[in-house]
Subunit: 355 residues, 5 copies
C-alpha cells in the first residue's frame, strides 16, 4: 500500500476539519511574502506568523499574502483563525488531492486551482495546487512550492505600478493570478500538439511498438488535463457571473475573458483527444497492412517454389522404369516446363497486384 493511500484511508473516517497535508513537503520552511499597496505606494515584507499577516491586512490599502509550502499545519490553522476561515476551507487547501473548487462564504471567496505542467520526458502532467482566499481588502494565495514561485510577473507589475493592477481591488489581483495560470494551459496544449506531430511522422515512416506506447501516454496526459481543466470552467463561470459583492463590476469583463480562454483550452483538448484516437486507428491499420505485405511475400515465394520442388522430387524418384529419365531431352524439357510454370504464376501475381 502506497503512503498516499494510507494517508487517505486514515482520513476517511477522521473528524472533518482535521488538518492533514496530503502532498509531499516541498520546501524546508514555509515562506510568507506579503505585498501591501495602494494606487500610489507599494511595499513588500517577509512575514513569519499569522498574527503579523492579520496586522498588515488591518491597515488601509490592499494586502496580498503569498504562502509557499503547505506542510506547516499549525501555521495554517492559525491563519484560518486569524482571518476567520471555516476549518473545511483550510482542509481543502491542504488536501492537494483535491478537485478545483470554489466556495463563496459571503465574507470571503475561496478558490482552489491547479497549476499544470507537461513533463516532456515522462510524458505526464505535473500538478501544483494553488489556492486563493479573496476578502474585501486582501488576497491570500497558497502554493505547494513544487515549481518555484510562479507569480513573479504579477509582482513585477505591482512593483512597477504600470497597468491597472494597483488601481483596482484584490479581485483584479485574483484575476491576474488566475489568468496567468489559465494562459499557461495553452503552453501545455501546444507542447502536446508538437508531440502529436512528432508521433504522426513516426507513424508514417516507421510505426513500432514504442509508437503505440507514446500514443497511450499522450492519451493519459489528455485524460488528466481534462480532469483538472473541466472543473475550472464552472469555477470561472461562477466568478464571472458577478453574484458576489467581493468582485467589482469592472473586473467581470476580465473574468469573462478568462472564461473564454478556458473554453478555448477545453475545445483544443477535445480536438486533440479525437486526433489521438485517430492516430490509434492509423497505427492498427498500418500494422495490418504490413502483415499483409509479409504474407504476400511468403505466399508468392511458396506458391512458385513448392510446386517446382515437387516436380524436381518426382524426377528424383528411383523407380527403375521411368522412361522420361532416359530421354535425351528429358532434362531440358522439365526445366523449360518449370520456367513456364513459374512465369505463369508470376504473371498471375502481377495481375492480383501482389508484387
Amino acid at each position: 500500500m502506497s503512503p498516499t493511500i494510507q494517508k487517505r484511508s486514515e482520513k476517511a473516517w477522521a473528524s472533518p476539519g482535521k488538518l492533514v497535508y496530503v502532498g509531499e513537503q516541498q520546501k524546508e520552511a514555509v515562506e510568507i511574502a506579503a505585498f501591501h499597496y495602494t494606487e500610489t505606494a507599494c511595499h513588500e515584507t517577509a512575514l513569519k506568523t499569522a498574527d503579523e499577516c492579520r496586522a498588515l491586512q488591518r491597515e488601509p490599502g490592499i494586502t496580498w499574502i503569498n504562502i509557499e509550502g503547505l506542510h506547516d499545519t499549525v501555521l495554517m490553522e492559525q491563519i484560518g483563525i486569524q482571518f476567520g476561515l471555516h476549518p473545511l476551507i483550510i482542509e481543502d487547501i491542504l488536501n492537494t488531492d483535491q478537485r478545483p473548487k470554489l466556495d463563496d462564504m459571503g465574507d470571503y471567496i475561496s478558490v482552489v486551482l491547479k497549476m499544470l505542467d507537461y513533463d516532456e520526458d515522462s510524458g505526464g502532467i505535473v500538478t501544483e495546487q494553488v489556492s486563493l482566499i479573496l476578502g474585501d481588502n486582501f488576497l491570500i494565495s497558497f502554493q505547494e512550492g513544487r515549481q518555484g514561485d510562479l507569480f513573479d510577473p504579477v509582482r513585477e507589475r505591482i512593483r512597477s505600478g504600470k497597468g491597472k493592477i494597483r488601481k483596482m481591488g484584490p479581485d483584479y489581483l485574483a484575476y491576474a493570478l488566475i489568468d496567468g495560470i489559465v494562459d499557461n494551459y495553452f503552453a501545455i496544449t501546444e507542447k502536446i500538439s508538437e508531440k502529436i506531430e512528432e508521433i504522426e511522422e513516426k507513424l508514417l515512416s516507421d510505426p513500432s511498438n514504442e509508437t503505440i506506447h507514446a500514443i497511450h501516454h499522450l492519451k493519459l496526459a489528455i485524460l488528466h488535463l481534462k480532469k483538472y481543466i473541466w472543473p475550472m470552467r464552472e469555477i470561472i463561470n461562477a466568478l464571472a457571473k458577478g453574484e458576489s459583492p467581493l468582485i467589482m463590476e469592472s473586473t467581470l469583463i476580465y473574468l469573462r475573458d478568462v472564461y473564454d480562454h478556458i473554453i478555448h483550452a477545453i475545445d483544443t483538448i477535445e480536438t486533440t483527444r479525437d486526433m489521438i484516437s485517430g492516430m490509434l486507428d492509423i497505427y492498427l491499420s498500418s500494422v495490418s497492412n504490413r502483415m499483409n505485405q509479409v504474407m504476400k511475400v511468403l505466399t508468392v515465394i511458396a506458391t512458385i517454389f513448392i510446386p517446382l520442388t515437387f516436380i524436381a522430387g518426382v524426377y528424383g524418384m528411383n523407380f527403375k522404369y521411368m522412361p522420361e529419365l532416359d530421354w535425351p531431352w528429358g532434362y531440358p524439357m522439365v526445366m523449360g516446363f518449370m520456367a513456364v510454370a513459374a512465369g505463369v504464376m508470376l504473371l498471375l501475381f502481377k495481375r492480383k497486384n501482389w508484387m
Copy 2:
C-alpha cells in the same frame, strides 16, 4: 433459477409494502445499539425492541439507534410503526437490491446508501446497504452487517466529545456517517489505480490472455462502482440544497463538501474508465505486433530456404543426360550460387527491416 431471482419474481406482483428481506442473513441476531447524547452527556445502551427505541427517543437529547442485521422483518415493521415510517420506506431498507435513494417525507428523511469495497482477490465490488432515517431529534441507521460494524470511528468521536459532533444535531451525525462512507470510495479508486499500474507493467513486459481477463474484470468493477456512486450524487446534492427544515444551515457547508468529494470520485472513475479502454487498445495492438513478428520469422526462413531446396531438388533428379552433374566444378558452383542467392535475400530483408 437462482434463489434471488425467485425472491424477486415472487415480489413482482406482491402487495406493495409487504416486507421481504432480499439479501442473505448475515448475523444470527439483530443488534440494536443506541446512543443518547447532549452537548454535555452521552450514554450507550443495547436495546431489544422497537418500543425501547421509541421510549429512548422521547427523552430530551439526541438519539442514535444503529441496527445491524435486517432479516428480522417483524422487528423492522415494529420500528416502522413506532416511528411512524411509511411502509414503503421500510420496504426500501430491506430491499438491498436497491438503488441509492432519498425520500423527504416531511417529518423525516430516509436515505439509502451503499457502502462499497473492492475485493482484490475476486476483482469484484462488494456492497453493503446502509439506510438512515433522520428525524428532528433522532437518527436511525440500518446495516446489513456483512462487513462488521463500520461506524466505530464516529462512535469514538461521540464518546470523546471532541469536535463538533455533540454540539450539533442529528443532521450533523448523519453527515458524519455519509462522509465516512463517501471517503471510503477513494480507497477503492486508489486500489483500482494500483491494480491498473500492475496490469500496465504486465502489458509492457508480457501480455497474455490473463491480462485481457484482468482488464475485463477491472472494467466490470468500474461499471459496478459507477452504478452505485452516480445516484449518490443526486442524493447528496438534494440534501445539500437545504430544502428540508431537518437539516440546519450550519450543516449545509459540510454536505456541500461531501458533494465535492462525490464529484471528485466520479471524475476519477471516469478517468479510470478511459484508462482501461486505452489498455485494451494497447493489448490488441501488441498482440497484432507479435503476430507480425512471428510471421516475419516464418517468411524470412521460408523465402530463403524454399528456393534453395528447389535447386538442390533439381540436381537430385535422376535424368541420364544432365551435363552439369559431370562437370568437376558443378557442385561448388551450385553451392556458391546458393550462397549468393541466400545473401541477396538476407540483404533485401534487412532493407525491409524484417530482421
Copy 3:
C-alpha cells in the same frame, strides 16, 4: 412485403382515428371481466357490451373493467363512445406497434404500457401492449391476451380486501397494475444476467462462432428492452408529478417508488450493455490470441525443418564430384550438424517464449 408492413402502409395516409388492430388476433372472443368494489364490498361479473360497462360504472363505487383481446374494433369503438374517449386514444390502444405513451385528457388519463418477457429459447424480447384508461371512479385495462391474464395477483388482493387496495381509488389500482408490470422487468434483467454469466464462462473455456452470435442476440435484446423501457420513465415521472386531480396525493409516493424502480431497471440495462460490449472485446482478443498460437506452431515447425530438408536435399544431389559423399564420416557428421542446428533453433524459440 410482410403483412405488418402492408398494414402500416395502408394506415399511412388513412384518416386519423380510423380503427385498425395492427397485431395478430390472440383469442377467439374478447373477454370483458368487470370488478365493482367499495371498501366493504366487491363483486365480479363478466360483461358483453360497452353499454353494460357504462351502466356498471355509473353505480357508486369503483369499477375496474379488464378487456382481453383487441381485435373487435366495433366493440372498441363502442367503448370509446360510451366513456367519451377521443378517437385517437382508441387508435393508440389498438396500434400495438406503439411507443409507451401517456395522454392526460383532463377527464381521464390514458396510459399505454408494454408488458415484456425474455424468451430464453429465441433470445428475443416478447412484448404485450397493456393500456389503461383512468377516470375519476373507474379504470379500464386493455390486454392483447398473448401471455394469458396477468393481473390475477391484483384481483386476489381486491377479493381478499387485504392491504390498501379497496380503501383507495382507481388511481391506486392503476398504480398496482403498473407496479406489477415494472417489477416484471427485473425478472428479465436477471434472466439476461444469468445468460451473460453463461456466455462468459464459454468465452473463457471455448470461444466459438456461436458465442459471438449469442452475444449479438443479447445485444439486440438489450436494444429492444431499452426501446420499450426508456419511455416508461417519462410516463411514470409525469404521473408521479401529481399534476392531474385524478391522482390522489397519497398515491404519489407509490408512483415515485415505481419511478425509482424504472430508474433502477434502466441503470441495470446500461450496465448490462457495457458488459456485453466488454465481452465482445474479450472474444475478439481471444480469437487473435489463438491465431497467434497457431501461427507460432507453424513457424516453429517450418523454421526447424525447412533448413534441415534443404541440407538433406544438398546431399541428395547427383553430382559426380561431391567429396563429402565419399567420406566415411560424412553421414554421421551431417546428421550431427542437423541435430545441433535444430537444437539451437529450439533454444531460440524457447527464449522468445514461442513454445
Copy 4:
C-alpha cells in the same frame, strides 16, 4: 466541380432573398391545383397565376392551393407578393438543399418538410421537399414533383366529406398532410428492417466483401434518415405547443399524436443504428474466425508433412556409408516410424481442437 456546388457557391455571397431553385426541374410546367371547401360544399379548380390564387382565397371558405414544380421562380415571387410572404420564406421553399424548418411569422406559419423514400436498388434515401404555408383561411403546399402527387388520399377525404377534415380549419388540413408524410417514415424503417434481416442471414451463411458494403450503405441510409427526421421533431413539437393562434385547440391533440409518431420513428432509427453497428462486429469477428480456420488447416498439413519430407530427404542422401540403406528392414522401419509420427501429430491436433 459538380453543378450543385457551383450553384451554392454562386449563392454564397448573393443578396439574401434572391430566388434560385437549387434542385433539378422535375416537370415541364408548374401545376397549381386548388381546392375550395366549406363544411357543406367543395370544388376543385386548376389555376394558372398567383392572382387567381389570391382571388380564390379571398372568398369565404377554406382554400388549399397545391403547387407542384418549383422551377418557375417568377411565379413563386408573384405568390410571395400576393400572399404577403417574406422573401426569405420563398427562398427557403426554393432551396431544396434545406434543413426542415418552421417559421412562425405571425400572420402565417411556414413549414419546410422532407418527404422521404428508401430506394431499395441503390440503398439510398430519396428526398422531396414539401413546404406548407398556413394562413388563417388558406393552406399553400409546395412539392418538387419528383414522386408524383402524394396528397391524393387527403384529396379523397375532402371530396367525400367523410371524417372531420371539412369541418375543421386549414390547420387540420396541414396536420393531415404532415401526418401522411410522417407515417410514411415507418414504411422506410420497415423496409430497412427487412434489409437488415436479409443481411443478417447472409452474415450467418456466407459473409463476403459485398456484405460489408451492404452494411455500409445501410449505415449511410440511416445517417441520412437521421439528418432529415431529427429536425422534424422540433418542428412538430413547436406546432403542438399551440402558441400560434393559427392552430386551433382541437387540432393540438392530433399534432401531439404526430409528435409521438416522430419520436417513435427516431427511437426505431436509433435501435436500427445500433443493430447495424452490431452486424459490423459480427462480420469482423467471422472474418477473423475464418482466417483462423484457414490457418489451422495450413498448420496441420505443414506440421505433419514437413518433418516427414525431411526424413525422406535424409534417406535420399547419396552418402556412400549409410548403413540403414543396406538393412533389409530399413525401408519398412522408416515408413513405420513416419506413420507413427504422423499419428502422434494428428492426436495432438485433435486434442488442441484444431481439426
Copy 5:
C-alpha cells in the same frame, strides 16, 4: 520550440490588454477602406489614421470601415481609443488564435468570426479571423488579409444600391458579411463530400495505405471545422435573440436564417464525420478480407503440394530393399495416386469455397 509557442508563452503572464498580434504579417501596409452611405448616396475613401475614421463616422449616415492587415498594433490601439473600445476587445481582434466569440458591450457589439477554406492539396482547413465592431451608426471590420479582400460582393451591392442594404442600418450590413462567411462553409462541406466520394471509390477498387492517410486527413479537417463552426452557433443565436438595441427587429429574421444555415452546416459535418468513421471500418474489413484471400491461396497450394512432395521424397530414398521401385507399374501407379490425391484436395477446397 516553435515561434508561436514562444509568443503564447510570453503572453501567458503578460498584463491583460497588452496588444500582441499572434499571427503572421500578411500585407506590407495596413489598408483602411471606408464606405459612407445613406439610402440615396454612397462614397468610398481610403483612410490612413484612426482620427480620419472617427471624423468620418461622426458625419450623418452609415460608416463601414474595413481594415485589412492586423500587424500595426499602434494603429489598432488608436482605433480602440477613438471609438472607445475596451482594451480586451482590441486584444481579441489581434489574437488570431482565438475562438469565435461575441461581446455585447452595450454601446457596441464585438464579434470575432472565422472565415474558413479547405485546401484540397494539403487536405487542411485554412482559417482567417474576421472581427466586426457594430456601433449604432458604424461597422468596423478587421481582416488578416490572408485570402485577399473577401467582401467585394457586399461592396458591389452597396455601390449599386440594389436590394435592402442601403435602406437598412449597420446591423444589416453586419448580417450581410456574416451571411457570406457562413454560406462559404457549405462550399467546404461540399468539397469534403466530393473528396469522400473519391476515397470511397478507391476503397472499393484498390484500398492502399494512402487511402487510410487520406481518411485520417479528412477526419482532422472535420475536427478543425467543428472546432471553428460550433461556437458560431452560439454567437449567431445570441445575435438573433435580439436582446441588443443595436440590432433592429427587421434584421432579426435574417439572423435567424443565418442561424438555420449554421445548424444545417453542423448537421452536415456530423453526418460527414459518421461517414468517415464508416469508411475506416470498411477499410479495415477489406484489409482483413484480402489477407484472408492471400492466406487461402497459400494454404491451397501448400496443402496440395507438400504431401505430394513427401510421396516423391519417399520414392527418392536410396534403400536397397524397396520392392515398389522394381515394379514395372510403380511409377505410373504413384503418379496416378498423386493425381487422385490432388483431385480430392481440390474438391474439398471447392466445397469449402476457398477457390
